[in-house]
């Protein structure tokens, strides 16, 4: 457990980015498969 924790701390950035990329890909694939139906709301500040 200690070793795992140390490993996580050492590679925290890489693990985080990998997870983020994984979920981005999943959500984009979902969007493509649903024909972009779910839609991504426009950035809030763009109209300010």
């Amino acid at each position: 457990m200690k070793m795992l924790r140390a490993l996580f701390h050492e590679n925290r950035k890489l693990i985080l980015v990998t997870l983020e990329v994984f979920w981005i890909v999943i959500f984009l694939l979902d969007r493509v498969s649903s024909g972009g139906g779910s839609g991504i709301p426009q950035f809030v500040y763009v109209n300010f």
Partner: protein, 428 residues
């Protein structure tokens, strides 16, 4: 080939909505590779960057050749006045410098107001077809809120002498720098020039990992978290608010506040990351604002490039002016609070063209003024129990909860009247 035909050609390609469309990333990849491979030294490098800025802006669906001409004109006027404040016969006459700087700021504010406020646009632009839109509707000039503040910064710093002998190419690139064009961050000219010099020499690998990592954080916030959160927000929920219990409406309001933060900080991540891939560092906009102990701290860490601009060019000049008043000088808290309320009034007017944004600004200004009064009272308390409480985690946690609630409730001001009536009806 005219600007309009280039714009039409680019608009014939897939839409390049900044940071959220596949087309944007495809064009951006070409721009990054081209700018990194081609020689970037001196004028050639600056011209290449300008070319990239212009092409990326023209690919924006809301942008066209006419908009570029307006920005070109705004930049030329800003640059011309900035230069005149630095050198030439006017620069040597102190009595002429101040009126010239004021004229420049007023001109920029006029352009901002015309493209921000419907009534002023109707008054000034009777024939809007000259701008190429052909529509009689309101013309929204994308990026004007941010570019005008950057132009005002340029003029004031030229007047102060901190911007010395600017180059036209640098000024154009500064005002049209595409990663920060639509929604900031509001960067500063001298930082931009320093980074521009560095960007011409920086090795690709130094910027790539930092920029790509930041872009991934931004994409994750925009394509995952906000997509998950949006259906639960006040503006995204499919359930009519009238059918919700008050606590459900409150949760939707909290979700909206979080959505607002994650969406905008995601945008900032994408802008900062993209700029970094080009070799530029943009200023940060957020530092965990919803974990701050009071509203003043929250605002000091929310949209920091804007609050920094307002502090430098509205708050402090106002404080200095008010301090010069004999009667007011004895009341520093009154001076500070008056300046804060005026600053936030203008902050509200900048955020939106309608009266509710002004109310939103005043709401926050009065909130921060109340925090100021509370802080002053706290400094006078001598009771050991109270002093212990002020430094306790409980006091901190309570401050965080109160500040977040105050901020979230403030979002009610920027809802449309129908949504606001539903929310108020359910909450109270």
């Amino acid at each position: 080939m005219t600007l309009e035909s280039i714009s039409q050609f680019l608009h014939g390609l897939p839409s390049a909505e900044f940071f959220s469309s596949a087309a944007f990333w495809a064009y951006f990849a070409i721009v990054v590779v081209a700018l990194r491979l081609l020689p970037r030294r001196g004028t050639v490098g600056d011209l290449l960057l300008l070319g990239a800025n212009v092409l990326m802006l023209l690919a924006l669906p809301q942008f066209n050749g006419a908009a570029l001409l307006i920005y070109g004109g705004l930049t030329l006027v800003t640059y011309g006045i900035g230069l005149a404040l630095n050198e030439g016969p006017l620069a040597k006459r102190p009595s002429s410098r101040l009126p010239l700087a004021i004229l420049g700021v007023v001109l920029v504010l006029f352009v901002l107001a015309v493209f921000k406020y419907r009534f002023l646009q109707t008054l000034v632009l009777h024939d809007k077809s000259i701008l190429g839109s052909g529509a009689s509707d309101f013309i929204f000039l994308v990026g004007i809120s941010y570019s005008s503040f950057k132009a005002i910064h340029f003029l004031i710093e030229s007047f102060k002498g901190t911007i010395k002998r600017p180059r036209l190419l640098d000024t154009l690139n500064f005002l049209l720098f595409f990663p920060a064009f639509v929604s900031g961050p509001i960067n500063r000219f001298n930082d931009f020039i320093a980074h521009s010099a560095r960007a011409n020499r920086a090795p690709w690998r130094d910027d790539f990992s930092a920029g790509a990592e930041r872009i991934i954080h931004g994409l994750f916030k925009k394509f995952v978290i906000t997509v998950l959160l949006f259906p639960y927000t006040l503006i995204g929920t499919k359930v009519p608010l009238a059918e919700m219990a008050p606590w459900q409406v409150l949760l939707c309001l909290y979700a909206y506040a979080l959505y607002f933060y994650i969406d905008f900080s995601g945008y900032t991540d994408l802008a900062i990351g993209s700029a970094r891939l080009l070799g530029f560092n943009l200023p940060e906009n957020f530092n965990q604002p919803f974990l701050k102990k009071n509203l003043q701290q929250l605002w000091a860490n929310w949209h920091m490039s804007l609050t920094g601009w307002l502090t430098d060019y509205v708050y402090w000049p106002l404080v200095r002016k008010l301090r010069s008043n004999e009667m007011l000088r004895k009341y520093p808290l009154v001076i500070s609070n008056l300046a804060i309320i005026v600053t936030f009034f203008l902050c509200g007017a900048w955020h939106g063209p309608t009266f509710n944004f002004i109310l939103w600004g005043l709401y926050h200004g009065i909130g921060i003024a109340a925090v100021n009064v509370y802080q002053k009272w706290k400094r006078q308390v001598r009771h050991p129990g109270a002093l212990k409480y002020f430094t306790s985690p409980l006091s901190y946690a309570l401050g965080v909860v109160l500040s977040f609630n105050f901020f979230a409730l403030g979002l009610l001001f920027i809802l449309d009247s129908q949504q606001l009536a539903s929310v108020l009806g359910q909450l109270f």
